[in-house]
């Protein structure tokens, strides 16, 4: 059905169709309209989920963990500092192998008090064992949320999934949205290690030095297996519903000499910059990274790579640039742009390519082009 929706509404619509058993959320700034809209669905009887308004984000994730461990399908949404406050529990959800699905609206971290788009919040969750996908349109936010449940709950994965959408830029923009009936695309959840609530028994107790590494390795093994599950899920989605997604979205990369790598809305706007550059005779392409975890093998051989980071790791560099230089021997120009909602246009992105200086880092708004 053709409608118009914000990124927030699109995620809520997808959640409604997947019908989680339990949704836990804490309504405080910076929470999102996602949980507001879901609360409306539940109170209006359109969605028969148990909605738990908890007292903090830490508790929101704890409630999802408690519910998930009984085999219940769970969802929550958060943003920025809310996500940071969950950090202990996000580790626990992954470690306990619980397929919790969460939407995170990417926003900057304080201070200064800033509610605008940045990826550093989610990237601080990079090493928790969560799968992370970054979307760039309202439609993609909806589609990725549907797929997240199937991927998380797949018994070769059993790890939580985080859907990331840019604060304001995507959470608040209104774009066309085509909703679908997922039907049996998302099979019922079946958690092999679910607690039998009629005969409860505890687990997750003391794990000694002779066992812990096995528990951790098992997370990594599933993370590697998740690659195939994601591929298959995306293929099946395309076959059934006609919309194709990959680990990356590649735009004119084939013959490109220079490739822009970015995530989220910047990665989409980069395509417009590519069109401009091509008209000037610059063989540019855009590779929008969708999945950060598991991190895909990027085909960048023989290309100059311009990485745009809407995030930073102090004392090291752009997080995406660091990930990419660890994987490829190709020359990388690292651009730090869009921090805390800093306005970055397709013309700016074209400038990053025109003035690229391989092997260096360039802070947009701070550094001058040489």
């Amino acid at each position: 059905m053709k409608k118009i929706a914000t990124g927030n509404k699109a995620v809520a619509e997808a959640v409604k169709q997947v019908r989680p058993d339990v949704i836990a959320a804490y309504p405080i700034t910076p929470q999102t309209e996602i949980v507001e809209q879901i609360a409306e669905f539940v109170s209006g009887g359109e969605l028969k989920s148990r909605y738990i308004p908890v007292e903090s984000e830490h508790s929101a994730m704890a409630a999802c963990i408690g519910a998930s461990i009984t085999g219940a399908r769970t969802f929550t949404a958060t943003s920025s500092h809310g996500l940071l406050y969950m950090h202990e529990m996000t580790n626990w959800a992954a470690g306990a192998r619980l397929p919790v699905v969460m939407a995170n609206v990417n926003r900057s971290l304080g201070p200064g008090w800033n509610i605008w788009a940045e990826h550093t919040d989610a990237l601080q969750e990079r090493d928790t064992g969560w799968l992370q996908v970054y979307v760039s349109t309202v439609q993609e936010a909806y589609d990725a949320t549907l797929m997240a449940f199937r991927i998380a709950e797949h018994n070769d994965v059993l790890l939580p999934v985080m859907i990331n959408l840019d604060g304001f830029l995507l959470s608040h923009i209104m774009q066309p949205l085509d909703t679908i009936d997922p039907g049996d695309f998302i099979p019922p959840m079946s958690l092999p290690h679910a607690i039998d609530t009629k005969n409860p028994a505890g687990y997750g107790g003391l794990t000694g030095p002779d066992q812990q590494f096995r528990v951790r390795w098992d997370i990594e093994r599933s993370m590697r297996d998740a690659v195939k599950v994601i591929e298959k899920t995306q293929e099946e989605f395309a076959k059934r519903f006609g919309r194709k997604y990959g680990f990356t979205e590649d735009y004119l990369c084939g013959d490109a000499e220079v490739i822009i790598v970015a995530m989220g809305t910047l990665g989409k706007e980069a395509e417009v910059a590519v069109d401009m550059l091509r008209q000037e005779g610059v063989k540019a392409g855009s590779m929008r990274l969708r999945w950060l975890r598991p991190f895909p093998k990027l085909n960048l051989k023989g290309k100059q790579v311009v990485v745009i980071d809407r995030d930073y790791s102090f004392g090291r560099g752009g997080i995406l640039a660091t990930e990419i230089t660890a994987q490829t021997k190709e020359q990388v120009a690292s651009i730090i742009a869009g921090i805390g909602g800093q306005e970055v246009t397709y013309e700016d992105i074209a400038d990053f390519v025109r003035h690229r200086c391989m092997g260096t880092e360039f802070w947009f708004g701070v550094d001058k082009y040489v």
Partner: protein, 175 residues
């Protein structure tokens, strides 16, 4: 691509007008996005919202710098904001006003949307509703079709007075 910047004051429905316009454009079979200016909106403060309409999917998220059209829902913002900033040469300016406003170098037009809203008794918490009548005026200017404009209004509002107000604005618009 056709880019529109809407000027209003917080609480006057500028964001809803953007949304209605984008929805109507989608009903016309086009692609459209509507976005508020990203920030803290305060009631009464001058705000802007953006609409992009195109035949292809829209891949731009940054703000509109060089609009093809400017819509002013509250003429008093013109005292404090340069509404013509970045407007393309020969671009369109629409102002909610009884008086004819002319801007040299641009195509200017006006309709008394406030008067129409008051006549239809389309008032919420003491403020006349401007976001539905303005869609009628923009339909007359050919930005969206009348059918799609009405469909979009009915999709978002159950009160038929909104459609009537849009029709009145369509009639009063000199075109």
């Amino acid at each position: 691509m056709f880019e529109i910047r809407i000027h209003s004051r917080g609480g006057q429905g500028g964001v809803t007008a953007a949304r209605l316009l984008a929805l109507a454009a989608i009903y016309d079979g086009k692609y459209a996005t509507a976005a508020p200016f990203y920030g803290a909106e305060r009631r009464g403060a001058p705000i802007v919202s953006f609409v992009r309409i195109d035949d292809k999917p829209i891949r731009i998220y940054s703000q509109i710098r060089k609009p093809d059209m400017v819509v002013v829902l509250d003429a008093s913002v013109m005292d404090v904001v340069d509404v013509l900033q970045g407007l393309k040469a020969g671009g369109k300016v629409f102002v909610n006003s009884q008086q004819k406003k002319t801007f040299s170098g641009y195509v200017s037009s006006n309709v008394d949307l406030t008067g129409i809203a008051l006549k239809e008794n389309l008032v919420v918490s003491g403020s006349p509703i401007l976001n539905t009548p303005v869609i009628g005026a923009l339909a007359k200017m050919g930005i969206v079709s009348v059918e799609s404009a009405k469909k979009a209004i009915r999709e978002m509002f159950t009160d038929e007075r909104n459609v009537k107000a849009a029709e009145a604005a369509f009639r009063e618009m000199s075109a």
